[in-house]
Amino acid sequence: MSKTYFDETHCAIGHPKSKFMQWMLTVDHKRIGIMYAAVMFFYFFIAVGTAFMMRLELLAPGGQFLDGDTFNQAFTLHGVIMIFLFIIPGVPAVLGNIVMPLMIGAKDVSFPRLNWFTFWLYVVGTFIALASLFTDAGFADTGWTFYAPYSINTSTNVIFTLVAAFVLGMASILTGLNFLVTIHRLRAPGMDFWKMPLFVWGIYATAWIQLLATPVVGITLILAIMEKYFGIGIFDPAKGGDPVLFEHLFWIYSHPAVYLMILPAFGIMSEIIPTFSRREVFGYRAIAISSASIAGIGYLVWGHHLYTSGMADTAKIIFSFLTFFVAIPTGIKFYDWVATMYKGKIILATPMLWALGTIITFTIGGLTGVTIAMIGVDIHLQDTYYTVAHFHYAMLGGVVFLFFAGLHYWFPLVTGKMYNEYHGKISFYLQFVGFNLLWFPMFIAGYYGMPRRYFDYLPEFQIYHQVSFLGAVIFITGLIYMFVVFYKGWTKGEPSGTNPWNATTLEWHLPTSPPPLENHSKVPYVDFNPYEYHHGQPVVKFDYKTMQRID
C-alpha cells in the first residue's frame, strides 16, 4: 500500500512528530484545502443557525423572541459569516487549493508556505470577526455592508468586524496572488492556456478579482476605522464628508466580489457537465473568455447598488446598461453547457443533479438580477425581499449549490472513498425543494412591498413567511442529511479508485487514491484538450508508470 497525503506531509516549520502538529503546520495544498473546509463549514452552520432563528422570529407578525436590536445583530452576523468567512474564500480556498494544482500537474502551489500562512491569517480573521459577540458592546448591527454614517455612529462593536474583514481580505489577496503565480508558472509542459481545464480558468479569473478589488475595500474599512476613532471626517456629513463615497468604495470591491464567488463555481459546472455528458465541452474558448470578461465587466457595474443613494442620472443609465452586459457572457456559458449535454450520454450522478439543479436556480437568480438592474424597477424593489430572494437564488442557488456539486464530484479524489449515491440524491432533492419553497415566496412578498431586514411585518405577508419557514426546515434537513452522507462515505465508503467518473482532466490520472504527497509521481506532457471524449469514452490514456500517452 503506497503512502498518501494522509500519511506524510511537508511542514512549514521543522517536522513535528505528532500527527496533530503535522496538520497544523502542513504546507500541502490538499491538507490546507481540507482544513479550510472544516473551518468554513463550522461557521457556515453557525450562520445557518442564525438564519433559522430569524425565520422563526418571522413566522408570525410582531416580536416573539428576538427584539429589534438582536434581530439587527442576527442578520449582520449571518451576512458577515456567509460573505466574508464562507462564500468569498469558499470555492477557491477549498476546491481551488485541493484541485487546481492537481489539474495543471503541479506538485503544490507556487508559494506553499505563504499558503499555510494565509490559512492561519484566515483563521485569525474569523476569530476577530466573532470576538465581538463576547464583548459588552455586542456584535455589529449595521448589516454586512457597514454603511456610513450609521456604522460610524452605532454603539455596537463595529471595529472588530471591520478589522476582521480587512484581515480576511488580506488572506483573500494572498490566496489570489498564490494561484495567479501558480497558474502562470507551474502548468505541466505543453499545457498552454487553451489546454487548461475550465475550472482553472475560473480560478484564474477569480484570482485577478481577488487581487485587484480587495485592496480597495481593505482601505475603505481602514478609512472607516480612522473615521470612527480619529474623526477624520471622510464619511461623516457633519464634518463635510460624503457617506455615498463609502458606498462607492465599498461596492467597487463588493460587486466584483460576487463574480469572485460565482466564477470558480461556474468552473465546477464546466467540469461536471462534460464529464457526466461524456462529451467534449461545447465552446471551450467561449466559456474561458466569458469567465475573463465577466471578471472585467464586473468591475464597472458597482453603481447599480446606489440607484436610490443619490447619483447622477447619466451615471445610473450607464451603470444600468453595463449591468445588462454582464448577463451576456453568463448567458453564453449557460447555452454552452446546455449544448454540451445535447446528444451526450448523460449520467445522472449526484454531482450532475446538483449542476442541473443549479441551471434552474441560477437562471432564476440571474434573470431576476437583470430586472433589478433596470433603474425604474429597482426604485420599486430596492431593499425589499425581492432583492433578498434574488441574491439568495444567485449565491445559494448558484455558488453554494455548485460548491456542493464540486464537493460530491471531488469527494472520491480527496478521500479515496465513495459516498452513497442513493442517499446523496435524496439530500439533493430535499435541498432543491426546500430551497425553492424557502426563497420563491420572497419574490412575491418583496414585489408586494415586504422590506428586508425587518423583524416585524404586516399580517398580509404572513403566508409567504410561513411557506418560507417550511422551506427552511426542509432545506436544513437536507443539508444535515448531506453532511451525514459525506461523513458515512468518508468512514465507511467503498474505495473509489483513481478515476471513478471516467473523467479526463489530470486530477483523475494520479498514481494512487487518495493522491500521494507530491501529486503526480511523473508529470505528463499535455498535448491534448481537457475534455476529449469519443463515443462516450475518454480519448487520452496513460501508461501510469511513465505517464506517457498510449492511446
Binding site: 511537508h10 500537474g105 503541479a106 506538485k107 503544490d108 502551489v109 507556487s110 508559494f111 506553499p112 489577496i173 496572488l177 498564490n178 495567479l180 503565480v181 501558480t182 502562470h184 508558472r185 507551474l186 502548468r187 505541466a188 509542459p189 505543453g190 487581487l211 485587484l212 480587495t214 485592496p215 480597495v216 481593505g218 482601505i219 475603505t220 481602514i222 478609512l223 480612522m226 480619529f230 474623526g231 477624520i232 471626517g233 471622510i234 457633519a238 464634518k239 463635510g240 464628508g241 460624503d242 463615497l245 468604495l249 467597487i252 511523473k522 508529470v523 505528463p524 506532457y525 498535448d527 511513465t546 505517464m547 506517457q548 500517452r549
Partner: protein
C-alpha cells in the same frame, strides 16, 4: 523539501524531454508574485487618492489654503531623501548581482539610515503641526473647532495617508534589517537573491507613492493661498 532540488522531466509522445517547472527556486515566479502584491499597494493608495481628488473638487479653496500651510521645505527635503534612498537600494542590488556582497550591505545600511532620517524629519513636521493645533483628535481638527470643513478633510486625509506611508517605511526598515541577517547567514547570495530583489521592489513602491503624495499635499498650495492664480 530536503536535499538539492532536481527538476523533473516530462516526455512527450515523440520522446522529447521537457523540464517541469517546480515551485522550488522559481526566480521568475517569486518576482511575479511580488509584483502582483505591489500592485495591491498601488490600488490601496489609489483608492485614497481618489477620495482625496473627490473632496478636492468639493472644497477647492479649502484644499489650497490647507496645502499652503504645510511645510514645503521639510516635505521637499524628505522627497530628496527618499529618492536618494531608492538610488542606494538599487545600487546595492546591482552590487549583489555582480557578487560584491560587502558593498551591497553598505548600501542597505545607507538605505536604512536614509529611511530613518525620513521618519525623523516627518516626526518634526508632525510635531510642528501638532503645536499649531493641527493633529488627529486634537484642537483644530475637533468637530467643534471653526476650521473650514474642507481643511479638516484635507488634514484628516493628510495624516491618514502620510501615516500609512510612514508605516510602510517602518516595515521597510524591518525588512532591510531582516535582509542583512539573511545575507550574513548566507541565505541570500549573488546566485540566490530573490529576497533582495523583492525588498528593493517594495522600497521602490514606497518611494513611488511618496512621489505622488508630495505634490498632491504640499505643492497644490505652493503659489500661496490663491494657488498661484
Amino acid at each position: 523539501m530536503s536535499g538539492p532540488y532536481v527538476p523533473e522531466i516530462a516526455i512527450d509522445r515523440n520522446g522529447n524531454e521537457h523540464i517541469v517547472q517546480g515551485w522550488q527556486g522559481d526566480f521568475y515566479g517569486g518576482k511575479l508574485g511580488f509584483w502582483l502584491f505591489m500592485f495591491t499597494e498601488v490600488l490601496m493608495f489609489g483608492a485614497m487618492f481618489m477620495a482625496l481628488a473627490y473632496y478636492n473638487t468639493l472644497h477647492p479653496q479649502d484644499f489650497l489654503d490647507a496645502s499652503a500651510s504645510l511645510n514645503r521645505l521639510l516635505g521637499g527635503i524628505n522627497t530628496v531623501v527618499l529618492l536618494i534612498s531608492a538610488l542606494t537600494m538599487g545600487l546595492g542590488l546591482l552590487n549583489m548581482r555582480v557578487g560584491k556582497v560587502k558593498e551591497a550591505k553598505q548600501m542597505i545600511w545607507a538605505t536604512i539610515i536614509l529611511a530613518t532620517l525620513f521618519l525623523v524629519i516627518k516626526g518634526f513636521e508632525w510635531r510642528a503641526e501638532y503645536n499649531h493645533g493641527i493633529f488627529l483628535m486634537h484642537d483644530q481638527l475637533l468637530p467643534e473647532s471653526s476650521l473650514a470643513l474642507g481643511q479638516k478633510l484635507f488634514f484628516g486625509l493628510y495624516f491618514t495617508m502620510t501615516g500609512l506611508h510612514g508605516f510602510h517605511i517602518i516595515i521597510g526598515i524591518g525588512l532591510m534589517i531582516w535582509l542583512l541577517k539573511r545575507i550574513n547567514a548566507q541565505k541570500v547570495t549573488p546566485d540566490h537573491h530573490i529576497l533582495y530583489w523583492n525588498i528593493a521592489l517594495y522600497w521602490d513602491i514606497v518611494h513611488l507613492i511618496w512621489v505622488f503624495v508630495f505634490p498632491y499635499y504640499y505643492m497644490i498650495g505652493a503659489g500661496g493661498a490663491t494657488g498661484g492664480h
